[in-house]
C-alpha cells in the first residue's frame, strides 16, 4: 500500500511541475490562470491522498475548502480578463 502512495505522489509532483512550467512559459495571462487552476486541482487531489496516507480523515476538509475557494479565485481572474468584473 505504501508503494502505491509513493508512486501516485510522484506522479502528482510531476503534474505540478508541468503545470508550473506552463505557468512560467505562458505568454498570456489566460494561460497562467488555467495553469493555476490545473495546479489547484492537482494539489486538491494530493491533499486528499495525503489525508488518506496519514489516516486522519479530518484533513480531507482542507481539500474541500481548497476546491471551493480555488474555484472562486480563478473565476475572479477570468472575469477580469473578460473585462466584465
Amino acid at each position: 500500500m505504501e508503494t502505491v502512495f509513493i508512486i501516485v505522489l510522484s506522479l502528482m509532483a510531476l503534474g505540478l511541475l508541468l503545470g508550473f512550467l506552463r505557468f512560467v512559459k505562458g505568454p498570456t495571462a489566460a494561460d497562467r490562470a488555467v495553469a493555476l487552476d490545473t495546479m489547484s486541482v492537482i494539489a486538491t487531489a494530493a491533499l486528499v491522498l495525503l489525508g488518506l496516507m496519514f489516516k486522519r480523515y479530518i484533513y480531507i476538509d482542507v481539500a474541500l475548502i481548497y476546491a471551493v475557494l480555488g474555484f472562486i479565485g480563478v473565476i475572479v481572474i477570468a472575469r477580469f480578463i473578460e473585462k466584465a468584473l
Binding site: F20, L36, L47, Y59, V62, I65, G70, G73, V76
Partner: protein
Amino acid sequence: MITYVVIFSILAVLLVASALYAVIQKDLLAAVISTGVVSLILSVFFYLMQAPDVALTEAAIGIALTTIIFVITIRNTSRNEDETVDNNLEKF
C-alpha cells in the same frame, strides 16, 4: 522518509521560483496569479507539517481574498507596472 525529502525539495524550489516570478514580473495580473501559486504551495507545506488549521486559513485568505482584492485594485489602477511608475512621476 526519502519520499518526504523529495516532495519537500520540489515544493520548496517551486515556492521560491514562483515568489521570485511574482517580484520580477511587469504584468501585474500575472504577478497576482503568481501570488496565488505561492499561496497554494505554502498551503500544501503547512498541510505536510501536520497543521491542517493553518493550511485551511492560508487557503481561504491566500487564494480567495488576496486574489479578489488585488484584481479589483488592478482594475481601478493600471495593469502594467511601468505605466504606474510613469503616472506617479507625472503626478509628483
